[in-house]
C-alpha cells in the first residue's frame, strides 16, 4: 500500500485465512518521516458489546444474534474504539446512517510498527490465537497462492 501513503517508506498489508474460518490482518508500517497519527478502521453495521484490546461485534438482523470476535494481537496496549461514519466533507453526501467504524488509534508513529488483528466468529480461537509460523514473519516472506 506504499503507493497510497507517500509519508511512508513502506506500507504492507497481509491477509491470512486460517483453518478456513479465522482472518488475520497484518499491517507493516515503516514511516518515511514521523506520522502524526495512524488509525486502523473498518466500517460495519454491527454494534459493539465490549471494548478494550478485544471486542465483540453483534448483529441481530437475521434472527439469533451473530457475533464476530476481534482482538489486537500486537502491539500491546492498543484498544478498539467505535466512532460514527458520518462524512466530514462536502454537503450532500450519504450520511452513512446505520454504519459505524471500529477503529484502533496508533497515535504518532516514528519507528517501524507492526499491527496484527484477528477476526473470527469463534470466540475461543480469537482469544487463544498466537502469532506463529509464517504469519509471525514479515509479510514479504509469506508464502501462499495469492502472494503478490
Amino acid at each position: 500500500m506504499t503507493l497510497a501513503y507517500p509519508d511512508c517508506a513502506r506500507a504492507r498489508r497481509g491477509f491470512a485465512l486460517i483453518d478456513r474460518r479465522h482472518v488475520v490482518i497484518v499491517d507493516e508500517i515503516v514511516p518515511g518521516r514521523p506520522l502524526a497519527n495512524v488509525v486502523w478502521q473498518m466500517h460495519m453495521t454491527a454494534t459493539i458489546e465490549a471494548r478494550g484490546e478485544s471486542v465483540t461485534l453483534v448483529q441481530t438482523a437475521a434472527g439469533d444474534p451473530a457475533r464476530l470476535f476481534m482482538r489486537i494481537v500486537e502491539p500491546e496496549g492498543r484498544v478498539f474504539a467505535a466512532t460514527a461514519a458520518t462524512p466530514s466533507g462536502p454537503a450532500g453526501q450519504n450520511l452513512n446512517r446505520g454504519i459505524a467504524k471500529v477503529t484502533i488509534e496508533l497515535g504518532q508513529v516514528e519507528a517501524p510498527l507492526r499491527l496484527t488483528v484477528i477476526l473470527s466468529p469463534d470466540e475461543a480461537a480469537c482469544a487463544s490465537f498466537d502469532l506463529a509460523g509464517i504469519i509471525a514473519r514479515p509479510v514479504d516472506e509469506w508464502s501462499g497462492a495469492l502472494r503478490p
Binding site: R13, L17, R21, T45, A46, A66, L68, L146, P148
Partner: protein, 407 residues
C-alpha cells in the same frame, strides 16, 4: 440475437424454465393501457433512462413470449410499442446511454418483428434508428476530439461497451436501408470498442466493480451474440483476452453472506444476469448458469425474458465445478478468499492495486469486506451520489480523497 435459437431449443422440458415461461407469459399478458409515452407523467416520474429500459424490457418480454407461444397478440403488441417509441421526437436524455439503450431496443424489435411490419412501418423504424440513434452516435464520435476530456469512445469504461455495442447492433439492423451510414458508424465503433474489451485483460476482472461489470458485460454479450447470428463471425471480440474467463468474476465477487464485494461504485445486492447463461454455454463454464438459475429460483420476480432465450440447463454449483476457494484477478489486483463455497463460510474480498484507477474507482487501496456465519461484518460504503461536486473529477478527487474515500 436470433429468435431461431429460442424456437429450436425451447427450454420447456426443464421444469425451472417451464415455470419461467409461464411467469413471463403472465407478465406479457398484463393489460397495458397504452404504449410507452415519452413523458408518462404520473406520481412517480420516470427518467429518460427508465423509459429506455422499460422499452427494451417490453420488446424482449413480448418478443420472447411470442416466440414461446406463437400467439400473435404478443407480437402485435410489441410492434405497437416499437412504433410508438420510433415516433418520439428524439431519443435523447441527459446522457447518451438513453440514446444507446433506446436504439438497442428498436434494433432488436426491428429484427424480431420485421415480418410483421408493413413497408411504411419498416421505413419509419429504420428512419428512427438512423436519425435518432446512429446520427447522434456519429455526432458523439465527432465531438470526442479534445483531451483530457475524452468521452466514452476513448474511455475504458462500461459506457464504451454499452454505447458501442448498441450502435453496432443498430448498424446491423439498418445496413440494408443506409449502407453508408451503417458502415461509417460500425467502423468507428469497431475501432473504439477494443478499449472496452481491453478492460477484461488479462483474466476477466473488472476495475469498476461487479455492478458495472454486469452492465458492461450485458452489452458486450448482446454484441458478440448479434455479430455471430448476423454475420456468422464475432470479429474476434468473443476471443478478447480475459472475456472468455470473465464469468469467473461473478462467483468470486459474491460473498458468502449473499452480498457482493461491492468495490468501486457497486451495490451489495446481487442482481441477476441472464447473460450468465450465455457465458456458461459459450465458454463451457456451467457455474455461471448455476448462479443465474439459483438467482431466478430465489427471486422469481426478477427472472428476465432473456433468461429463456439463453437458458442453459447444464448448471453446476461452484463447489462441484472445481472453482478454487481463493482467486486473485491480476489485472485489477483484487483477491477473494473463502473457507468453502457454502453459505456462511468465512469470505474476504480484498482491494489491492492502486487508488482511483478508473472513473468508478475509489480511494480504497487495502480495504476489504468480510463475511462470516452469513453476515457481512466489514462493509464497503459503495457509491455516493454522482451529482456531488467533482465526484468524477480525478484531480479534484485527489484533493478530496478524505471526503470521498468511501472504502
Amino acid at each position: 440475437m436470433e429468435e431461431e435459437g429460442c424456437r429450436t431449443s425451447r427450454p420447456s422440458a426443464d421444469l425451472t424454465a417451464s415455470q419461467w415461461i409461464h411467469d413471463q407469459t403472465e407478465t406479457a399478458s398484463a393489460p397495458l393501457s397504452r404504449p410507452l409515452q415519452r413523458d408518462p407523467g404520473g406520481d412517480a416520474p420516470a427518467t429518460p433512462l427508465d423509459i429506455a429500459r422499460l422499452f427494451v424490457l417490453r420488446i424482449q418480454t413480448l418478443g420472447i413470449v411470442w416466440f414461446s407461444t406463437d400467439d400473435a397478440r404478443y407480437r402485435d403488441r410489441a410492434t405497437k410499442e416499437l412504433l410508438a417509441v420510433c415516433a418520439f421526437p428524439d431519443w435523447q436524455g441527459d446522457e447518451f446511454l438513453v440514446t444507446a439503450e433506446t436504439m438497442f431496443g428498436a434494433a432488436i424489435g426491428y429484427d424480431w418483428f420485421f415480418n410483421a411490419l408493413s413497408d411504411g412501418e419498416r421505413q419509419a423504424v429504420a428512419s428512427a434508428i438512423l436519425t435518432k440513434g446512429v446520427q447522434p452516435g456519429l455526432d458523439e464520435f465527432a465531438a470526442d476530439t479534445s483531451p483530457p476530456h475524452w468521452t466514452w469512445p476513448r474511455q475504458r469504461t462500461n459506457w464504451n461497451l454499452v454505447c458501442n455495442s448498441a450502435l453496432m447492433i443498430a448498424a446491423l439492423s439498418v445496413a440494408e436501408t443506409d449502407w453508408a451510414a451503417a458502415v461509417q458508424i460500425f467502423d468507428l465503433c469497431r475501432r473504439s470498442i477494443s478499449l472496452g474489451f481491453d478492460q477484461y485483460r488479462p483474466d476477466g476482472g473488472w476495475a469498476e466493480g461487479p455492478g458495472y461489470w454486469h452492465y458492461a458485460t450485458q452489452y458486450a454479450v448482446y454484441l458478440v451474440d448479434s455479430l455471430k447470428t448476423a454475420l456468422g463471425d464475432d470479429l474476434g471480440l468473443g476471443d478478447s483476452a480475459g472475456f472468455g474467463n470473465t464469468g469467473v468474476f461473478r462467483p468470486h465477487a459474491a460473498g458468502s453472506s449473499g452480498k457482493l464485494f461491492n468495490f468501486g461504485d457497486s451495490d451489495e445486492e446481487h442482481s441477476g444476469g441472464y447473460w450468465l447463461f450465455w457465458l456458461a454455454k459459450r465458454y463451457h463454464h456451467p457455474v455461471d448458469a448455476w448462479i443465474e438459475r439459483e438467482h431466478g429460483m430465489v427471486h422469481p420476480d426478477r427472472v428476465h425474458p432473456m433468461d429463456l432465450l439463453w437458458f442453459d440447463p447444464d448448471a453446476r454449483p461452484a463447489s462441484a465445478d472445481h472453482l478454487t476457494t481463493h482467486h486473485r484477478f491480476h489485472g485489477i489486483d483484487v483477491a477473494m478468499l473463502r473457507g468453502d463455497w457454502q453459505h456462511g463460510a468465512t469470505y474476504l474480498g480484498i482491494k489491492g492495486g492502486a487508488n482511483d484507477t478508473c472513473r468508478h474507482a475509489h480511494y480504497d487501496l487495502g480495504s476489504f469486506v468480510l463475511d462470516a456465519d452469513g453476515v457481512r461484518w466489514a462493509v464497503d460504503l459503495g457509491p455516493d451520489r454522482y451529482q456531488l461536486p467533482n465526484y468524477f473529477d480525478p484531480a479534484a478527487r485527489a484533493v478530496l480523497s478524505d471526503e470521498y474515500a468511501r472504502p
